[in-house]
């Protein structure tokens, strides 16, 4: 596993490297101190995952993420020191797979790296397909079609849609969705769900501003409508 750690503070980079070194399995850690260096390292060293601090001198973490997401689905965990909601949401919206607020526990970071890699890596491919609301979810190929057109989803978006489709017509709580798709430790992290539901709606709803397929059940969670679009 090759991890790129981007932080302007050498001590933080060294800490993450040390913690990763004591984790399970061989890890190669590469480091970058600013945004441009990070982009160069991603291009040249081809890491498996990036741990990206948002507050960087010059080109900040948001900008790195935005640039990266134009061409790649490389897993990214953002680090934020401000702990502000809108920073977290913006990070997720720009395509971060996870975020951690400083000060974080190195052990937890190592666990999260493993979780994110597992989530975005090769998934268990169950056979079969689900048809709901005019969509056909091919579980083996992990593809979604509306008619003949394929709708391209990221692994997490796909997992979320499968969860909703499995219990279509039922309201599924925030907590249940977070636990199923992200893991039990994320069950109170509503930001993830909010951002990903928004992205799914953008991709599968004919009018994302007035969603008919993925319905919000106030105070409870979300429901995939049974009716055809």
């Amino acid at each position: 596993m090759k991890v790129l750690v981007v932080d302007d503070e050498p001590d933080v980079r060294a800490l993450v490297a040390t913690a990763l070194g004591y984790g399970s399995g061989p890890v190669e850690v590469i480091e970058a101190g600013d945004g441009d260096e990070a982009l160069a390292q991603i291009r040249d060293a081809r890491p498996d995952i990036v741990v990206l601090d948002l507050a960087l001198p010059g080109r900040d973490g948001f900008s790195v993420l935005e640039q990266l997401r134009r061409t790649s689905m490389l897993p990214v965990i953002v680090l934020t020191a401000r702990g502000l909601e809108h920073d977290k949401i913006r990070g997720l919206e720009l395509g971060a797979d996870d975020y951690m607020t400083k000060p974080f526990s190195p052990r937890e970071l190592v666990l999260r790296i493993q979780t994110v890699l597992r989530r975005s890596g090769p998934q268990d491919r169950r056979p079969g397909s689900i048809e709901r609301g005019g969509l056909r979810l091919d579980l083996a190929a992990r593809q979604v079609h509306r008619g003949d057109a394929e709708i391209r989803l990221t692994p997490t978006e796909f997992n979320l849609l499968v969860e909703l489709a499995n219990r279509a017509g039922e309201a599924i709580s925030h907590e249940a969705l977070l636990t199923k798709v992200w893991g039990p430790e994320y069950r109170t992290e509503g930001h993830y769900l909010k951002v990903y539901i928004g992205r799914l709606r953008d991709k599968i709803e004919s009018d994302p501003a007035a969603p008919r397929l993925i319905q919000t059940v106030r105070g409870v969670g979300y429901r995939l409508a049974l009716t055809k679009d």
């Binding site: 001590d11 109170t188 105070g219």
Partner: protein, 425 residues
């Protein structure tokens, strides 16, 4: 001093304009005076010369050191000369008086009022009343007019009345100006305070932000050391690392409190509300705190019924509120005592009552303890910055609820958190 300098500049402009009028008046007097045989050529020459002399005197006065130092006094002096000159003019036209004479008199009263306040208005009105009386007498003697005491009394009354009205008007204007100035001053002060407050919370947010990277490194290094991956620790080393770790966490909590405070003050909190089982949340918080209570030999009694009450809450934030109340009870109650956490559902919503058997809170401190950076007198032995309760109350209020203090039955403190019921009650 800046203020007199400004006043002096205004006076120079003002009196320079008047000086042009004085010179113009002299020219008109010299040009037209000879055509008014009743006035007498000696009076015409004297009056014209007087106007020119006054203009010259004013021009000189405005350049003197005395003027720069006491512009108001010099202005009063010039105004007094104005009164004499106008009186003399009225005197000259005594043979042929008409209403313009009185208008000039009244205008002087108004000018006196505006320039020198009540005293100026009264001074000018008395002066003009005397001038009129003298002129009437002179006219009677020289030109044989009837004296008509009633007319003199009437005109004198008009002058005095105008002085009185002008003084009232000036005082009223002064009051209005003072009110506006006080208002402006107050507004400036409020704005300055608000700016200062924003600066302070920006600073706090920035500071606690800057704490975070160093805290990450210290806490992370301690965690790795304690995991003994780099090498085994002796008991003594382990104990030191644990102590350091405990205190790093305190610093962390403190910086998190500062940040949360700044967010609250900036109105930057959007609650992530979900429908949850209220009892479940309280139970989880209590379970998280059992270890801490056990360290102090305390027990926590929890009284709540699961799946009975649903509330709409930001889970992380409401946990923090309940956690603060329970944590405070553990901190402030004596060792080996019992802390009771009792939940109720009533018409006002869902309430959590955290009751301890500590010293309680003095009557005069019961509101103050909810203010930021305040701590009760009896809490000196226990650490904390005094932000917890203030944050807890703000978060409770964001949920549409409240936190209040009550005396516990049998001594001690009871803090009562109330939040509204959720959609499904």
């Amino acid at each position: 001093m800046a203020a007199p300098a400004v006043a002096a500049n205004e006076l120079i402009r003002f009196e320079s304009t008047f000086n042009r009028a004085r010179i113009g008046g002299a020219v008109i007097t010299f040009a037209l005076g000879p055509f008014f045989p009743n006035i007498g050529i000696q009076h015409v020459i004297l009056f014209g010369a007087l106007l020119l002399a006054q203009a010259g005197l004013v021009a000189v006065l405005l350049r003197t050191e005395r003027f720069v130092r006491h512009p108001a006094k010099v202005a009063q002096f010039i105004f007094a000369i104005d009164l004499f000159v106008v009186s003399y003019a009225i005197f000259l036209f005594a043979y042929d008086p008409n209403w313009t004479t009185y208008i000039v008199g009244i205008l002087l009263v108004i000018a006196g009022g505006f320039r020198f306040g009540s005293a100026g208005a009264f001074g000018a009105s008395i002066f003009m009343a005397i001038t009129y009386t003298l002129t009437a007498t002179y006219r009677a003697q020289v030109f044989g007019y009837p004296t008509e005491p009633q007319r003199i009394a009437f005109t004198v009354t008009i002058y005095l009345l105008s002085g009185f009205l002008m003084a009232g008007l000036v005082r009223e204007l002064g009051t209005l100006r003072a009110q506006r100035e006080a208002f402006d001053h107050q507004r400036a002060e409020t704005e300055a305070l608000r700016a200062l407050d924003k600066m302070k919370s920006d600073f706090l947010a920035e500071m606690s932000h800057d704490f975070r990277s160093p805290l990450t490194v210290v806490r992370g290094a301690l965690e790795i050391l304690q995991s003994q991956r780099p090498g085994p620790l002796t008991d003594r080393q382990q104990e030191l690392a644990e102590r350091a770790d405990r205190n790093v966490r305190r610093l962390e909590e403190f910086s998190e409190d500062l940040l949360e405070m700044a967010r609250i003050e900036h109105g930057a909190i959007d609650l992530e509300r979900v429908e949850i089982d209220a009892c479940n949340l309280v139970r989880e918080v209590v379970e998280d705190h059992r270890g801490l209570a056990q360290d102090r030999g305390q027990t926590i009694e929890l009284d709540c019924v699961p799946n009975a009450v649903m509330i709409s809450a930001d889970i992380a934030r409401l946990r923090r509120v309940v956690g603060n109340l329970v944590g405070n009870a553990i901190k402030f109650a004596p060792e080996h005592s019992t802390i009771v956490v009792r939940t109720r559902r009533d018409e006002s919503g869902f309430s959590v009552r955290v009751i301890d058997h500590g010293a309680g809170v003095d009557r005069d401190e019961r509101e103050r303890i909810f203010e930021k950076f305040s701590r009760g007198r009896r809490t000196t032995a226990t650490s904390g910055a005094g932000l917890g309760l203030s944050i807890a109350r703000s978060l409770a209020e964001l949920h549409g609820g409240s936190i209040r203090y009550e005396d516990a039955v049998g001594g001690g403190a009871a803090f009562v958190l109330t939040v509204p019921l959720g959609l499904e009650g």
